[in-house]
Structures are given as C-alpha cells and as structure tokens.
C-alpha cells in the first residue's frame, strides 16, 4: 500500500530513492531527545555507581538494607492494592456506562474525563479536606456517635484511597473502550444457550473484557510504582514509597548516589513490566 501512493507523489518519489528526507525531518528531535532525555538518564545510571565513590556499594545497600527493602516491598504492596481497588471501582463504572443509554453514558464519561484532566494536586488536596480532622468524614463519624474518630489523614489508608481515586479514570477508560466494542449478539447467544447470572459473567463477559482489564491494570500499576506527589502529601512519613524516599535522598541528604541507585531499580522494574507488556500487546495501545 505504501509503495502505491509513493509512486504518485513527487516528494515521496525523491525520498524513496535517496531516503534522506525522513532523517532530515527526524534529526532535530532525535538530537534533542539524545541530549535532554538520554543524557540525564545516563547521568542517573553513572551517579548510581560513582557517587560518592566508584563502587557498587549503593546497590548493595539498596538491595540488602532492611529500610530500603521495606520501602520497596511497601511500594509493591501499595501498587497491587491500588490496582486491585481501581479494578473493583472501575469495572462497575465502565459497565454502567456501557449498559446505559447514550445520553447517560456521555454524562458519566464527561465526569470521568473531568476527573482525569484535573491536576493530581487538586485531587490530592480534595482528599486532604475530606479526610482532615475538621473534615466531613470525621464529622459524619462523630454524628454517628463514634467518640474518638481514628486518624485518617497522613496514613497509608489516606494515600491509598486518594491514589485509587486519582488513577481510577485510567482503568475506567481502558475497560470502557473494550466493553463498548463487545457485540451484544455474543451476550444474547450465550443467554439463549442457557448462560445466566454469574456464569454468563464469568464465562462470557469477563473474558471478553480481559484486554481492557490488562491494559488498565498495567497502566495503573506502573504509574503507582513511581507515584511521588500523593504519597508524600497524604501518606504516613513512616511508610514511604520509593519515589518519596528517592526525593528525600536528593532533597534532604544530597545523597545522589543512593537516590540514583534507587531510581535505577525503580526504572528497571518499570521497564521490565512494560517490556513484557509491549511484547504481548504493543506499548502504543497503552496510552492510545
């Protein structure tokens, strides 16, 4: 197909022969990305083995020290929890959209889109208000007769809840885009063959929506692994996540070596997950 239209096009004909055009068009961006994206990344890699001295000591500490391992484990568990919660929250919402009248579906989609586009900071702040000591949830608990309401803010609970709220739109959009394309004939024929209720869901609907679940989960999980803002602002200082700890190393201790080594571990884990995913489904679909 490509050759077909290249024949008729003067520019394309020329470039087809010399093959210089695409390089010329691409060159400025390629140079830019090399200088301002790759170099800083390589800088992190170099610092991780040279700061303060050229050894592998930073990695040794990151991969064996109890504090660091606990933070990594905590990050992983939080990411799994957030992904799972997003799925629990996102699936019914996507289903509601897919099964509603077009007008209602558009309205809900509008709402999800608004949430999606609203700054992380704004949504984090909103949760701070909601969960604060003088906030509506504590107030409601007191109204219901809870004498000593628990501390909600600055706990693992508050940061996890806010992250679920912030990342749920990614899940909803991915699942909805798959649900919308499901041929209703498939559901009807399954019903006519006697599938009902849970069986229909488990054996027909769930497998059909699996690609959306996979997309959404990978995206939410990966974003959550490197999440900085919300855990730092809402979480407990004693139960940090990796990104927060990296920030600390740089900001407070100026420990670039340790910060870089942790950043490299985070980067490698993220890239491994995305590469496995890319092999199976193609990365460009993830953000499409």
């Amino acid at each position: 197909m490509y050759k077909g239209y290249a024949m008729g096009n003067g520019i394309a004909k020329l470039t087809e022969r010399t093959n210089l055009w695409p390089w010329l068009l691409l060159a400025p961006l390629a140079v830019y990305m090399a200088v301002f994206f790759l170099v800083p990344l390589i800088d992190v890699a170099i610092m991780s083995v040279t700061e303060p001295r050229p050894t592998l000591a930073n990695y040794q500490r990151v991969l064996t020290g109890t504090l660091y391992l606990r933070v990594f484990l905590n990050t992983f568990m939080t990411a799994i929890m957030v992904t799972f919660a997003c799925l629990l929250v996102g699936y019914p919402l996507a289903y509601l959209m897919a099964s509603s009248k077009p007008r209602t579906a558009t309205l809900i989609l509008l709402l999800v889109t608004m949430s999606f586009w609203t700054s992380f900071l704004v949504r984090t702040y909103a949760w701070m208000v909601l969960l604060g000591t003088n906030g509506p949830i504590i107030w409601l608990l007191q109204l219901l007769g809870v004498q000593q309401p628990p501390q909600l803010l600055f706990t693992r609970f508050s940061s996890t809840l806010a992250m679920v709220h912030i990342l749920a739109p990614y899940m909803v959009m991915n699942i909805y885009s798959v649900m919308r394309k499901i041929d209703p004939v498939l559901i009807r024929s399954a019903e006519s063959l006697g599938a009902k209720g849970l069986a229909l869901f488990r054996h027909v609907y769930l497998p059909l929506t699996a690609p959306g679940i996979a997309n959404g989960s990978v995206l939410v999980f990966v974003i959550c692994l490197g999440f900085y803002v919300t855990p730092v602002l809402l979480g407990s200082p004693r139960e940090q996540m990796v990104a927060g700890l990296i920030g600390n190393q740089i900001d407070e201790f100026l420990a670039f070596g340790m910060g870089s080594a942790m950043a490299m571990v985070l980067l490698v884990v993220t890239l491994v997950i995305l590469t496995i995913y890319h092999r199976r489904f193609g990365l460009d679909k993830l953000w499409g």
Binding site: G8, T15, M33, S115, P169, L274
Partner: protein, 263 residues
C-alpha cells in the same frame, strides 16, 4: 449480575465526583485552616490569590513555561511525525520507541537526572531548564495525538492537488496543513497541559526563580495548607469543566445550525 454491577457503578460515580466538587465550597470558606463544612463564606481568599505575588508569580511562570514548551515541542514533533508516519526507513522502530520512552520513565527518575545534569550545566532553577525538561515529557503526548491524525489522513487529496499542477510546497501549505489543523491544535493543547500540570520534575528543578504553580501548590499543601489552594483548585477545576464540555457544546451548536440551514 446486571443490577448489582449497575448499583455499584452508581456508587462509584459518587466516589469519582464528590471529591472534585468539594473544592468549590472550600474556596469560599472563611476558615483559616481546613474545615468542612465551612463556618462561613466570603471571597477573601479569591482576593488574596489575585493580589498576592507569591501566588501570581508562579502562575505566570507556569503559563510562560508551558507556552514555550508547547512551541518547542511542536517545532520538533511535527516534522518528526511526518517522517515516522509517512516514511519507512531503517531504524524507524528505534525512533518510534524513543518518542514514547519518556512515558515509560517515572518522573522522579527524570527529576534526579535533571537536577544533577542541569546543575552541572548551570541551568538548574531557571526557566530554560524547566522548559527543556518539560519538552521531553510533552513530546510523546504530542506525537501520539498527531500521528493518530496523520495516519487517518486521506492522501488522495494531496495527490489531486499535485496532479492539478500544485507544487509540493503549495500542496503542503494549502491542503495538508489546513486538513491537519484540528490535530495540530489538540496536539499543542495536550503539550501545554502536560507542562502546566507537571509537578515532580518542577519540584526538583524549578527553584525559587522559575517556581511553577504546581510546585508552589505542593510546597504550600505540605507546609501549611494555605486556604488559597482551594481557590486555585476551584479555578483549575473550572478550567477543566470548560475544556471538557466546550467540544460537546460547540458540536451541538454546529449540529443545530446545520439542521437550520438544511430546513
């Protein structure tokens, strides 16, 4: 199963919406610290935002940085997208991957890199530094939008112009660009928003002079939860409401006009 999932869905709608809406009454509250429901209402914190330079300067910085980032991103991405969508050449796979890579790297990792690298070059804590960093993060988003548009481009229109005797340049200016305009606008808008909203890299490299609005908000939430944040949050949320609903409203008006014209 249906009924259960639907009710659950309705509950989730409330979960998604309520936290967004709560910032609006908070912005009119006269409480000094976080308190909901507010003890009373006034416009004092709006006045505070619009008269306080410690808030206006970061706002202006963010607008400036996002605008420059958008221009730089588009200058780099538009030609590159043409190359990647319309040509086949060796190394294209790597080039494609390179465009999307910034999406795969956690921002905190980039923040560490920029902090050290720009520090060594001497542009940390400057507008230029933030613009250069933000452009890298905006490139993949602008590219994804634009390449989707370019892939759907009907090239028979260009061929028609060429066969009617238009030069390639003329064809590009009078046929290709106008058709691609919506894609270009959306792509630029996404690049702008990406930069305007970007928080993590800005926290580490924007410093005092080039302090962006997200950085100022982050610091402020962390230290004292200044009530002015509710005002900014409301304004940002309203901007999102306008931005998200505007296309629908415009489409509806156009439809009505088209129907009137047909009648």
């Amino acid at each position: 199963m249906n009924r259960f999932l639907r009710w659950l869905g309705i509950a989730v709608v409330i979960f998604v919406a309520a936290p967004l809406v709560i910032v609006i009454p908070m912005s009119f509250s006269n409480a000094r610290s976080l308190q909901f429901p507010p003890p009373g209402y006034w416009l004092g914190y709006y006045q505070a935002y619009f008269t306080d330079w410690s808030w206006l300067r970061p706002t202006w910085n963010s607008i400036l940085i996002a605008t420059a980032t958008t221009v730089l991103t588009m200058v780099l991405v538009v030609p590159a997208t043409f190359a990647l969508v319309r040509h086949r050449f060796r190394g294209k796979g790597i080039a494609d991957l390179m465009m999307l890579m910034p999406l795969a790297v956690p921002h905190i990792v980039m923040a560490v890199g920029y902090y050290s690298y720009f520090g060594a070059v001497g542009i940390v804590h400057t507008h230029l530094g933030v613009i250069l960093a933000h452009t890298c993060l905006s490139v993949p988003i602008a590219f994804l939008v634009l390449s989707a548009n370019l892939k759907g481009f009907d090239r028979t229109l260009e061929r028609a112009a060429l066969s009617l005797g238009a030069s390639p340049t003329r064809t590009f200016i009078h046929i290709t660009l106008p058709i691609l305009r919506p894609g270009l606008i959306i792509s630029a808008l996404f690049a702008f928003i990406q930069s305007f909203d970007e928080t993590v890299v800005a926290i580490f490299i924007s410093g005092r002079d080039a302090e962006t609005l997200p950085r100022k908000m982050f610091d402020s939430i962390r230290q004292e939860a200044d009530p002015v944040i509710a005002v900014i949050s409301t304004l940002l949320f309203l901007a999102v409401i306008v931005g998200v609903t505007a296309p629908l409203v415009i489409a509806r008006i156009r439809n009505r006009r088209a129907r009137l014209a047909a009648a």
